[in-house]
Amino acid sequence: MSAETGIGAAVKRREDLRFITGRGTYTDDLNVPGQTYGVFLRSPYARAKINAIDAAQALQVEGALAVFTGQDTAAAGLGDLPCGWLVKSKDGSDMVSAPHPPLAVSQVNYVGEPFGLVVAESLAAAREAAELVAADFEELTPVVATAEAAQASPIHEGLEANLAYDWELGDEAATDAALAAAAHVTRLDLTNNRLIPNAIEPRAALATFDPASGEYELRTTSQNPHLERLVLSAFVQIAPEHKLRVVAPDVGGGFGSKIFVYAEETVVTWAAAKVGRPIKWTAERSESFLADAHARDHVTHAELGLDEAGRFTALKVRTTANLGAYLSLFGSSVPTFLYGTLLAGQYKTPNIHVQTHGVYTNTAPVDAYRGAGRPEATFVVERIVEAAARETGRDPAELRRLNMIEPGDFPYETPVALVYDTGNYQASLDRALQLADYGGFKQRRAASEAEGKRRGIGFSCYIEACGLAPSQLAIQLGAGVGLYESGEIRINPTGSVTVFTGSHSHGQGHETTFAQVVSDKLGVPFDDVEVVHGDTGRVEFGLGTYGSRSLAVGGSALISAADKIIAKGTRIAAHMMQAEPDNVAFEAGAFISGNQRLTLQEVAFASYVPADYPPDLEPGLSEKAFYDPENFTYPAGAHIAEVEVDEATGVVQLVNFVAVDDFGQIINPMIVDGQVHGGLAQGAGQALLEHGIYDADGQLTTGSYMDYCMPRADDVPDFTVDTTVTPCTHNPLGVKGCGEAGAIGSPAAIINAVTDALGTEDVAMPATPEQMWRKLRGL
C-alpha cells in the first residue's frame, strides 16, 4: 500500500476532525423521545446501616416519576455485580467475595455508594426529588487505611475478615535462602498512592426499553460493550443477550475506568422497563470522583539480594493491596496476576517470591487503571534496584545492564510464570543514555545547584505484559472469559471495505490504525476502509480495549480475517483467470497469474454478481476471524527522568524526560508518540501531583479539582521519545502495544530522580512541595 497511509505511516487521525470540531457523538449528546432523567442517591457515610428510606416527599415533586432502592432491585431478582477473575489464596481456597448489589440494600460501604435511583421528567426535578428522599442511616465505624485493614474488624457482615485473599507466586523457601546468603540485601518500604482516573468525559448511560420487541438498548461509556452485555445478561440477568443491545458511541477517554460494569448503567437499564420510558444518567464530576473505580493503593515491603559482583540473587515482595469496599470486575486480578508476574522486570533474578494481601476497606472499589498492576510492579522493581545501586556504590545504569536478560536468552522464562518472547533491553538503555546525555549530568547538577536547586537523575527499565491474553492461560488463572478478539472484514460489492472489530476506541485512534492495517494488507485505498466498533448490534463479539491489547489481539484478528478474504478471493480469481489457485499470487491489492491481473475490487464484484464463478463457492466476500494470542506481548523500555527541586519551596520540576520504548513493529508512529506522551503525563501525575485521599472517617478529601491535582501542560517538559524495535515473535503484525508504557515506566524514573536529588530513599508519591520541603530540612 502507499507509503502515505500504509503500515508505518504517520497518518493523521481521521476521527480527530469530528472530535475537535465538536461533531463527536458522546452518550450525553444523545436524546430520545420520551426521555427521562435519573439521579442516584449516594451514601454520605463510609459505613452505615440503612434503617429506612422514605421517598414519599420526593415523589410529591412535580415531574418526579419513581424512586427505586436496593430493596426494589433485590425484590426484582437483579443479580450482584460480579468480579470476573477468581483469585485463589495460597492455601488453595477461593477468594472471599463480598456480595455487591447494584444498589446497596441494608448497608452502605463507601461514600458515594449508590443506594437509590430517582427518575423524573427533568434533571432539575430529579435533583430536587433526590434531595427530598429521607434516608435514615446508622453510622458504623469505617475501615479506611490500607495497611490496617487486614487486622481491623470486618466491614462486611458475614465475612470473617477484611482479607479477600492471601495470594502468592514464586518459591518462598528458595527466595529466603538466597536472601540469607546474599552479600548485600536492600530493603525498601513503598506506598503506591491511590489515584482517581478522571477521563475527560464522565460516565453516562441512556437506556431504552421497547415493550413491543422486549428489547433493551443501553448506550453507555464503555470500553467493552460486549462484555457489558455479557455481564448484564448472564450475571445481573436484566435480559438475555438477544434482547439487549449495548452501544458505546464516541467515548471520551477511559484509562481502564470504563471497562467495568457499574451500578449506574445497570440500574438505569433495569429501571427503563419499570418506568416504561427511556432514562438518561450522566455523572457529574463529583460523582466521578466518588464512584468511578479508583486505582493503585498498595503498601509494600521489598527485599533485593545481591551477590558480591552485584548480580541480583533474590527478590521478596510483600504487598497489601486495597481493593476498596467491593471486588470490581477486574479488581482481584490487578494486584496479583498483573502485578506479581511482572516482578522479574528486565532482569535475570533467579528467585522471586511475592505475597499479596487483598483487603476490603470502606473506600471506592479499586480496579485497573492505565498499566493496571504493571506500574505497581515496575515501581517496586525499579525503586529497589536504584536503591541497591546507591547502597552498593554502583552506577544505576550499569547495575541494571549487569543484570539484564540478554538478547541471546530469549525465550526467557522468569521465576514468576511468564515467558518473554523477545527483547533487547540493552539497546533501549543505550539509546536512552545517549539521548539523556548521561555524561553531562554532573555539569547540569552543578549549574542547578548554583541556582538554589537540587538536581537528580533517575532510571526505570520497565517491562509489561500486554496483549491480554492467551485464553487458556487466563482461564487457568481464574478469568471468567477468554481473552481473544474478533474481527470481520466485509468487502462491499463495489470494493469498499467495512471492518468490524471487537476492540473499542475511546481515544486510541483505531479508526485510523486499523484502517491502515487493513488497507495495507489488502492493498485497497485507506479512504475506502471504514472501521466499525462499539456496538453489539453491529459487531458480532468482542472483548474490548484494555491492557494495550487492541492492535496485538484485535489487529491480529483482522489479519486473520484478511487472510481468509485473500484465500477466497484467490479461488474466485483463479476461476476467472482460468488458472490454478496455487499459481495465483496476491500482491498490492491484485490477484496475479502470469500476465493476467484482477483487482480485489473486481473479484469482490464478481463474488456478489456470480456469473462466471466457481460452482462450489458461496457468493459474497466477507470473512470473520477470532484471534487468540499464544502468549502475552512484552513491551519494554528505558526511561530516564531529571528533576530539579527548589531548595526554598520544595517544588519539584520535571526538567527532562527521555523514553526509549520497544513496542515491536509500529503501525502509526504519530499515534504511538501521542500514546507515550499521554502515558508519561499520567505517570508524572502519579509521581508528583495526584493523590486520592480519604480522611479517617472515610470522607474523600480530594473530591474535586480544587484538591485533586491533575497534571497540566506546564507540569511536564518536552518529552524526548524514541523507539527500538524487536518484533513480537508470535503475532502476525509483530506488534506489542503502546498504550500503557508511559504510565508504567515513568513514576519510578521520576521518584528515582527525586530521591537522587534529595539523598534519601524515603520519598512518598506524590512528591509534593511540602513533603520535599520537610525532607530538605530533616523535618
Partner: protein, 267 residues
C-alpha cells in the same frame, strides 16, 4: 442549579433597589465564584442582579499618582491595559496570573474584592498599593476593608464602583500556586513608594493582610536578605491538604523575598 430571577439594572440606584426588594438576592459581577456554588446548590439565590450594564463600574484611568480601575473590569482587561502596564506593571502581571483564560475573561476586580476569597490575588495588591475601595455610598481604605474569611466592610447591598490604587515607584507580585486549583497558596505583593515599602499578603490567613515587620525591614533596606529574620505577620495561618500552617508561613517569607529580589532587579 435552581431557578432564579435575573435582572440587569441600568443604574446603581436601580441595582440597590432590586437588591432591597428581593427575597434572597446576589449581585453578579463575573460570577466565577457564585455560579459554581449555585451549580452545586450550595448557594440558591432567588434573584441575580447583573452589574454588567453599569457604566459607573467601567474604565481604567491613571491620574497623578492614582490608578483608578472600574469594579466591573475583567481580569483580562487589567492584564492587557496600557494604563496599568505603564503605571503598575506588577498589577497587570497579577491579573495575567489569575485562574485561566475563561476566568480572566469573565471575572472582575470588583467581584474578587467583594468576595474576599482568602486565596484570591487582588486583595494582596489592594493592601500593598494602599487602595481606596469606592462604593455606591462611600470610600473605604483597603486597610479597613478586609475583615475575615469572605468578610469585608461592605454592607449587604453595597456595590463597589471603583478601586483607586496608589502608584508606587516599583512593585512586584510573587505567588505560590496551589498545585491543584492554582489559586494562591500564598501571594505577596511588595510595593516601594520612594523608600516606604508596603507588603500585601494573600492566601496565608483568613483574609489578606499586611506584613508590618517585613515593611519595616524593607523600608530600611530593599534587599531580600533583610527579610531573613523579620517577623511574619501575626495571623492564624491557613492549613490545608497542600500546605500546612508552618509551610505556608515559610512560603510567605520566600515569596516576599522573591518579590523583593525582582524589585532590586528592576531598580
Amino acid at each position: 442549579m435552581d431557578a432564579f430571577n435575573y435582572h440587569k439594572p441600568s443604574s446603581l440606584a436601580e441595582a440597590v433597589a432590586l437588591h432591597r426588594d428581593a427575597e434572597d438576592p446576589a449581585y453578579l459581577s463575573g460570577g466565577h465564584t457564585l455560579l459554581p456554588t449555585m451549580t452545586q446548590r450550595l448557594a440558591t439565590p432567588s434573584d441575580l442582579i447583573d452589574l454588567e450594564g453599569l457604566t459607573e463600574l467601567t474604565g481604567i484611568a491613571a491620574e497623578g499618582r492614582t490608578l483608578s480601575i472600574g469594579a466591573f473590569t475583567r481580569h483580562a482587561e487589567v492584564a492587557a491595559s496600557a494604563e496599568v502596564r505603564s503605571t503598575v506593571p506588577a498589577l497587570a502581571d497579577l491579573a495575567e496570573g489569575i485562574g485561566d483564560a475563561q476566568v480572566r475573561n469573565r471575572g472582575t476586580i470588583g467581584g474578587s474584592l467583594a468576595n474576599s476569597d482568602p486565596s484570591a490575588d487582588y486583595p494582596a495588591a489592594a493592601l500593598a498599593l494602599n487602595a481606596v475601595i469606592r462604593t455606591d455610598r462611600r470610600q473605604i481604605a483597603a486597610d479597613d476593608y478586609f475583615r475575615g474569611l469572605f468578610e469585608t466592610a461592605l454592607e449587604e447591598d453595597e456595590i463597589i464602583t471603583r478601586i483607586d490604587f496608589a502608584i508606587p515607584s516599583c512593585a512586584a507580585y510573587e505567588k505560590f500556586p496551589n498545585p491543584a486549583s492554582r489559586y494562591a497558596t500564598v501571594g505577596v505583593m511588595v510595593a516601594d513608594f520612594n523608600g516606604t515599602v508596603r507588603v500585601g499578603v494573600t492566601g496565608a490567613g483568613p483574609c489578606a493582610c499586611r506584613a508590618p515587620a517585613f515593611e519595616a525591614a524593607l523600608s530600611a533596606r530593599v534587599d531580600p536578605a533583610a527579610l531573613d529574620d523579620a517577623e511574619l505577620p501575626a495571623i492564624d495561618f491557613n492549613s490545608d491538604l497542600h500546605a500546612s500552617a508552618e509551610y505556608r508561613a515559610h512560603l510567605v517569607r520566600v515569596m516576599a523575598q522573591r518579590a523583593t529580589a525582582r524589585l532590586v532587579e528592576a531598580s
